[in-house]
Symmetry: C2
Subunit: 813 residues, 2 copies
Amino acid sequence: MGTTGEALATVDAWWRAANYLSVGQIYLRGNALLGHPLEPGDIKPRLLGHWGTSPGLNLVWAHLNRVIAERGTPTLFVCGPGHGGPAVVANAWLDGTYSELYPEVSQDASGIHRLFRQFSTPGGIPSHAAPETPGSINEGGELGYSLMHAYGAALDNPGLVVACVIGDGEAETGPLAASWRANAFLSPERDGAVLPILHLNGFKIANPTILARIPEDELVQFIRGSGYEPILVTGGFDGEEPARVHERMAAAVDAAYDRIQEAWADARGGASGASAGTEGDRPPRRPMIVLRTPKGWTGPRIVDGVQVEGTFHSHQVPLAGVRENPEHLRMLDAWMRSYRPEELFGSDGRPVASLGGIRPHGGLRMSASPHANAGLGEPLALPPVDDDAVAVDRDDRGGRGEATRVFGDWLSRVIRGNPDTFRLFGPDEVLSNRLGGVFAVTERVWREELVPLDEHLAREGRVIEALSEHLMQGLLEGYLLSGRHGLLTSYEAFIHIVDSMFNQHAKWIEQAAGVDWRGDIASLNYLLSSHVWRQDHNGFTHQDPGFLNVVVNKSAEVVRVYLPPDANTLLVTMRHVFGTRNRVNVVVAGKQPQPQWLSLDEAREHCAAGVGVWEWAGTEGRAASGAPSIHPVDAAAPPDPGRSPDVVLACAGDVPTIETIAAARLLADRVPGLRVRVVNVVDLMRLQDPRHHPHGLSDEAYDRIFTADRPVVFAFHGYPSLIHQLTYRRHGHDELHVHGYAERGTTTTPFDMLLMNGLDRYRLALDALERTGLSDEDGGALAAEWQQAREDARAYAIEHGEDPEWITAFPRA
Amino acid sequence: MGTTGEALATVDAWWRAANYLSVGQIYLRGNALLGHPLEPGDIKPRLLGHWGTSPGLNLVWAHLNRVIAERGTPTLFVCGPGHGGPAVVANAWLDGTYSELYPEVSQDASGIHRLFRQFSTPGGIPSHAAPETPGSINEGGELGYSLMHAYGAALDNPGLVVACVIGDGEAETGPLAASWRANAFLSPERDGAVLPILHLNGFKIANPTILARIPEDELVQFIRGSGYEPILVTGGFDGEEPARVHERMAAAVDAAYDRIQEAWADARGGASGASAGTEGDRPPRRPMIVLRTPKGWTGPRIVDGVQVEGTFHSHQVPLAGVRENPEHLRMLDAWMRSYRPEELFGSDGRPVASLGGIRPHGGLRMSASPHANAGLGEPLALPPVDDDAVAVDRDDRGGRGEATRVFGDWLSRVIRGNPDTFRLFGPDEVLSNRLGGVFAVTERVWREELVPLDEHLAREGRVIEALSEHLMQGLLEGYLLSGRHGLLTSYEAFIHIVDSMFNQHAKWIEQAAGVDWRGDIASLNYLLSSHVWRQDHNGFTHQDPGFLNVVVNKSAEVVRVYLPPDANTLLVTMRHVFGTRNRVNVVVAGKQPQPQWLSLDEAREHCAAGVGVWEWAGTEGRAASGAPSIHPVDAAAPPDPGRSPDVVLACAGDVPTIETIAAARLLADRVPGLRVRVVNVVDLMRLQDPRHHPHGLSDEAYDRIFTADRPVVFAFHGYPSLIHQLTYRRHGHDELHVHGYAERGTTTTPFDMLLMNGLDRYRLALDALERTGLSDEDGGALAAEWQQAREDARAYAIEHGEDPEWITAFPRA
């Protein structure tokens, strides 16, 4: 299919217009249409922004517009290069979307003026694609995630092309390098296509890029070896006229769309459907465009004797000191006029009508794509959890159950009920985390070779696994940002790998909340298992509960942390988080057989409260006996002395809960008069000051639960400091004593982990006695018993290579 | 060069011996030499460990032994595959190193017994290569870092081959994918060679691997496209005899070493030196071995009707329930005897003498490599900082200086003085972070194409930059672990990208401290700049001080955090950290022109103390005037009323220090009777409880500085909660009020960042007044002034696109 000269002339005009608007955003505060020669007062006092990547992005956008307008193929634009803000905003303004969403930035002279002034200005817009940018699902701040976002958006969008521009700088990052192979999971039948456009402009901030400097035959092999068929477009060097480059780029874009549409037709049995599957049902090689143009193309070539165009000197602002330097001012004037703005904008500032020749309509405009802007489509259909709940004998709690396995069975029904809008992602840990129940209803999708022995692997499926936490996180982000739902399951320790991706996604959500035209998105949900306390044959490397610390630093409006202590609380928690929007929900739960505490009704009540007194676990459940307190603090006459405990044993996390309940049993046996309250925290944010987090308990409610003055011995899943951080303004925090993980490494058993970190039942009980001043009276016998139990258990562990079931068993009443 | 049949027979024997020892570690607690048929009591009660990767690792090790023994080429083995512990330990025992370092695990029957029992057992050794493993610099826990560690170790080791086995699982991770291109920085003249050995055993935990399932021609293109020449070895499938595989593998290893040695000779003008540079001075393609063998090769093929060998079922323990299942017990017995242990070990348990035919000697044994085990070679030669220090006028402090630029000049002298043992790593941010001074003495090394316009780029140089924080961190880790020194500079926000790598390195250091034969290593030093408070044209994505939170969770023995407030304190801090060992030092410092406070002598004194009262900045410096306190707390008669302040203004970080000093000036002007103390913290760990961190101030010292009862208004660089976390046990912490970063995003100026987060001078001063109960009296005027200043400054910023110099200027006395 040849492209007419007229269409290419319009592409060139669009490109020039976008370039003009990009330069204007960086430089101008007035005289936006160059009604007179530029004067110092027209120039922004401070020049900020990035020109270098802009002409390339504008070129791609213009050519995609042409092909979309011709073919009507919905296309989402993912802008990978950092600081591409001027370009994507310029194009959004040119296609009209920007003015529709921001009416004050109208498509006229006054709007251009505002467009220029707002860029990279206090109270204005950032210098990179961001939540405020129409059509964007990828932020150009921290680089590396464009291609995984693109693949995530393409999943379950069978008619969509996701055109992803990847800068040659970004291509050096690990996450991007891992993304090429996301093509192993994209189905030509049910998913859209990803069209990577590798833009080799040759330079990063101050260095050349690797992919631009390797020999072209090596580059071609790299691309083919990554599963793509490269379409090379090189141009603009040594003063080459853009017209020739437009011809080559138009042919490349047409060829890419042709191949995508052929592949769809083949796979879907369309016009040429007869050939479906003829390639041994391996998808055909996917097209990829490699666009090699000079960095800062069409900008000033030489400035003060230094080459700028085609070097890293064009990365930011090619002409500096324009207000002060008349020569630079003149060069800027000439540069902007080189785009012939008089052909592009009317005297009223409106883009000339002829640009409409390649302007797609309505939602086909890339800036207006509902895949980026609309947010969540349908809410998840969530089955009740009743059928999956485990039975708990209220008179004999502590029967065994595997929390994540129970959840996995329920999750299979979520998947069955939402066959096109929910996906499960895991770094080869779905089975290890005991979510195998999902394979009753679906498979892992795999588009590379299948062999007869493969298990739970198929050409289609709702589960994606590759050994890259980055890739799993990025695919899920792209899937969520384009309006769908999902879950990422990982080992707890290794989720730190995506700390920074979590950070950036949480920032995106917070920033997007202030953008009224953006739809809500489903929450990013993590289920972390194989956690710090249950590394039965892994060591120090696998012990790290610190992701929670990273999470709680982000905006309180966005983050939630849940530590369900058993299967029913996990079920209730997960059903809740799946219904939330614009959040990051982190759920930590063990996969081992462990005691079960709450019936489903109790779990619902407990999870709704987020924190609660477990009266059955402390002496309060036996209050009817009227056993008097033996604690001298009684003299202080608490408000309700019959109910006030001598000590509070608090816990958060499944293993700490087992030990806490066991400690309460020990105390009840050994020190019968001691009034012990057991508190369990499932929603960690309940601890935080209500002025800092919307889930924070009021001080009154906190005091009713934890007391304002009784010692609290808190057994925590993570680093103890996190509890202190969350509660430092609470009453009685001087009497808050936290036991948790203390970064001591060795090869050992879960039981010994508890001992090393002082989180075992005996230590908790002894600490409670010490805090109540009773350690001398009753603690001696208990301490001796502890020493003996510890030695016995250590000897058992060394002899048998495993725990004496301390960690999972508890003395049932 | 053909390999003799005898040598290959020895290779096979070594391989069988290592396989036998690997299986024994997983299964046996007794009967280690199979003196009788296996009985249930010989089997460990709990079977833990990973067989799947072991035979492949053993095969590689045996073949490398042969070539090292023949050629004498020092070779470091980097074990990438996860859970390769049984294999690397088996080989270390076979070559004698293990028994030398752990004499109780002797090279005899009793030693084999201990070898088996200790594996993956409480108090024993972990299931992956770890600090306890001789010859290891790469932990097999969190995957992805093997190849970057290998490249880091090869730098400046011109005679060394680093053989890096990469699992096909690990190859899916982002960090590994980014590592292939580390070849762009390796010099054939001055560095060693990295020989990647991609082991395609086809499966991860429960999934196939991508690289094992793509067509072989695609794989070859990927490897060539990544700059390597693949040497393919496939074997062991469908029952193929190992002998044929040995022949192919031996030829592959020989070919790889031949090519490496030819490349060295070419580059270094040796025997074939005439051809040096004939490839246009681009290095020849580097060899890479692709070894495709069945997962769990030589293990049980079918177990209970399920294929195990060659599938993911062999990942961990191929035969389960061996104690209980006689058939499995019989299969284990047959499996172990299939290695013909009677040919491999004498009746005394010693390896037979013939194995010595391929056993390298002394430090050539890979387990004994000094590059892995010896640690630090020479300490850094550190020039004095006197010549670089900025002059500070003690009577008029606050002159401008750029801290990182000053440091960069000094750093150039460190580089010059340590030309072979120090490297600077940066993700394209060395110039941006204003360390350009180093380019006075060195360049960035770049082995891809050079063009005439390139700046500070050369065939050799001490600076490495690629746009991957992962790769920079990993190269530095490898460089440090093999006994050298270095620095990583990054933007503060994006260092979160390597949170997990930092975690794992900190864990390695802590664990290694307990391994007596391991030498100390130089500290991992970070210089973080372009920090949260100075994002002059970047937005929310670039604002994140949370790396400090991640850091302080790691072992107190390992981590240090420094926040030098000006250039001289930065110089003194960096000179200090460069001299430390076995630490991770995190230094945060701004790059902008900012006020300078301390003379070099004062900086030395201040940094040595880590925290100090800056009397000149508060009213204490004017105590001679004898101005009486106006604060009612005077009535409480503090120990030294003439010296006791009414309020403490504390600060940590360069921008908070400017604002704090300005706040103190404001208070001195407006509320002249108020006694204000200014405290600056440069070593953050001084705040921590001395029971938790060796740098922690005693409570007495803390109280002398911060007082035990006066309000403290603390301006902090990072999240306020971190200060609360560090000080929650300190006296007076109810009166500790921290101002810091609060995760509120928008496009704005540094000045406005301060306003939004309440860290500006007016807010600090107003808070101080409020805490002293004076806000009503004197606060009104100040608050009004603050409102006006704020409005003026906002208007100025919007008009000019920049700050009215609030943030960098301060009211000089």
